[in-house]
């Protein structure tokens, strides 16, 4: 398969032609001071999809995740969510649009209990169906159930990652943004987390936008995927297409060996 088969011209590819993207990023440029981090990113996430963004360290993946939430704010371009331009909305108002993020570095509140961390996740929808959702995430991550009264900062890395995802789920988001959920975790836990992601998508119909360095798992899971290199989307296609692409294999899959 040649590169051109899977490369999508900005705003013109097959996916973008479908008008009903839940999240649509168009020509977004983000700067840190004078340093450009995103050099005009185009990307779509449709309702019911798992979309993966892969790329090396420092490519700008997490910056894109945070730019979608308005922090840092895109200096150029537009971000549309559910038909609404959210490019200039303050972060907390974006968070109230039924979109949740488990961000880079997990960002657990270290001096709050696991239970309080979960409460923080549910605050955005006013604790509607809190008990039900609490039960659901406890079933999903039994480890958290054992530690509900423990402080977030005392959890292990894997448990913190589970908590970050669980906290994001507490608001029953329509779109879930996951930034490197597998980072630094044991393979067994990675598998568990990826199966949770698949389940959320298949059973609950949740739309998921996943940023990953663990390209193999992430591409296998994804309906569609994008590759980001130094602030630009260089390739896109279905997860399978990218998985089989020799360039992707060479750069992100260690030559296909796994």
């Amino acid at each position: 398969m040649s590169l051109s088969d899977v490369t999508m011209s900005p705003a013109g590819g097959a996916a973008a032609a479908r008008s009903s993207a839940l999240l649509s990023v168009r020509g977004v440029k983000t700067y840190y001071g004078n340093i450009i981090a995103l050099k005009g990113v185009d990307l779509d996430v449709h309702e019911g999809e798992i979309v993966t963004l892969i790329g090396a360290n420092g490519a700008g993946k997490s910056t894109l995740m945070m730019t979608i939430f308005g922090n840092p704010r895109a200096r150029e371009g537009t971000i549309t969510y559910a038909g609404r331009d959210i490019t200039r909305l303050p972060t907390h108002e974006i968070a109230r649009l039924n979109m949740a993020q488990s961000p880079e570095g997990r960002r657990i509140f270290p001096r709050m209990t696991v239970f309080e961390n979960l409460q923080m996740g549910a605050a955005v929808n006013g604790f509607a169906h809190f008990d039900e959702d609490l039960e659901r995430v406890c079933k999903m991550f039994p480890r958290l159930k054992e530690r509900l009264q423990q402080r977030g900062g005392t959890l292990s890395g894997g448990e913190q990652q589970m908590l970050a995802i669980a906290r994001a789920l507490m608001s029953r988001p329509r779109l879930l943004l996951l930034d490197e959920p597998s980072l630094g975790l044991a393979p067994l836990i990675v598998r568990q987390i990826f199966s949770v992601i698949r389940e959320l998508n298949e059973k609950d119909g949740m739309t998921i936008f996943l940023v990953e360095q663990n390209a193999y798992h992430a591409l296998k899971l994804a309906h569609r995927a994008y590759v980001m290199v130094t602030g630009t989307i260089t390739m896109s296609g279905t997860g399978r297409e990218l998985l089989e692409n020799p360039q992707v294999q060479a750069a992100y899959l260690e030559g296909g060996r796994h």
């Binding site: 939430f69 303050p90 972060t91 960002r107 509140f109 709050m112 923080m120 605050a123 955005v124 900062g153």
Partner: protein, 305 residues
């Protein structure tokens, strides 16, 4: 023994007032990492608000019940001072958020100077007295002609402090507002990602700090019966010291620090020399900080990531 008991009572009373002010410092520091140097003057301002409304209520409106007047003064004082706290944050600190670290600090010193000068111009430079409101005392015990007394004033101060601290503690620990405040304190960026309006939460922190300063101001007026425009500085610095001593950022630490400073001051004055009471208080601060750099109840800097 009798002297000690008496000074213990006096020290706890004074410490309660310091503790109430210290909470305002510690909360603001916790949430935006800034020392609000104007907080002492907010306290002084609230004492003036209390003074004015006490006189209005008793002489103009002719309320003869001291308890009722005191309660009304407390409520009005808390409301008006909160409004000041809110306005100060809005005007002097919020525009500087995201600016370099010293900018809000300098702005706070500016607000402090503004407030004390404003009160000096508006109310005059002389001490403003009020007629003694509560005079009764309970003699706890008496030996060799020395009576250990607990005045009603002191009871009112300690009970009010304890009650408001409990209420405040409940708000911070158990309500969504308190949870949002703690979230902003621990990770503002994440709090915003979860739909928390960080600016509003910071405003509320200033409002709550100012409300507690108003309680302290009213109690100060009740205790000493006199207030002047420059009464914000020294109690403000003492309360800040209390917050640092207890561990800045920690609410129980602020109260504990306040009580310790109050006790050191009164006990030192009783047994050694009243002129050196501040030297004693600040020396203890220095010694504690050498051995416990983050204060008595402060958390160490290290945190598991």
């Amino acid at each position: 023994m009798e002297v000690f008991a008496q000074q213990l009572i006096n020290g706890l009373t004074l410490g309660s007032i310091y503790g109430l002010i210290a909470i305002g410092y510690t909360m603001v520091f916790g949430i935006i990492g800034m020392v609000n140097f104007a907080h002492g003057d907010v306290f002084m301002l609230s004492a003036f608000i209390a003074l004015i409304f006490f006189l209005i209520l008793t002489t103009w409106l002719g309320i003869s019940s001291v308890a009722l007047a005191l309660l009304l003064v407390l409520v009005i004082g808390m409301l008006l001072t909160s409004l000041w706290g809110w306005a100060i944050e809005r005007v002097a600190y919020r525009p500087l958020r995201g600016s370099f670290r010293l900018a809000p600090l300098i702005s706070a010193i500016g607000v402090s100077i503004f407030l004390s000068n404003f009160v000096q111009v508006a109310q005059g430079a002389r001490n403003k007295p009020i007629p003694p409101m509560v005079r009764d005392v309970v003699v706890l015990f008496e030996r060799d002609g020395y009576a250990v007394a607990l005045s009603y004033k002191q009871i009112i101060i300690m009970v009010t402090t304890a009650a408001l601290l409990a209420a405040f503690w409940y708000v911070v620990q158990k309500t969504p507002l308190g949870r949002a405040q703690r979230a902003c304190e621990q990770d503002r960026k994440m709090a915003a990602l979860l739909g928390i309006d960080v600016d509003k939460t910071i405003s509320m922190t200033f409002v709550m700090g100012a409300a507690l300063a108003a309680v302290a101001g009213t109690m100060y007026l009740l205790y000493y019966g006199v207030v002047s425009f420059n009464d914000g500085f020294v109690p403000g610095v003492k309360a800040f010291t209390a917050a640092v001593l207890g561990g800045i950022g920690s609410l129980p630490g602020a109260v504990l620090g306040g009580l310790i400073i109050g006790l050191i001051e009164t006990l030192w004055s009783a047994y050694f020399s009243i002129e050196y009471k501040d030297v004693a208080a600040f020396s203890i601060l220095a010694i504690v900080l050498i051995f416990m750099p983050s204060g008595i109840l402060g958390r160490p800097e290290v945190e598991k990531v």
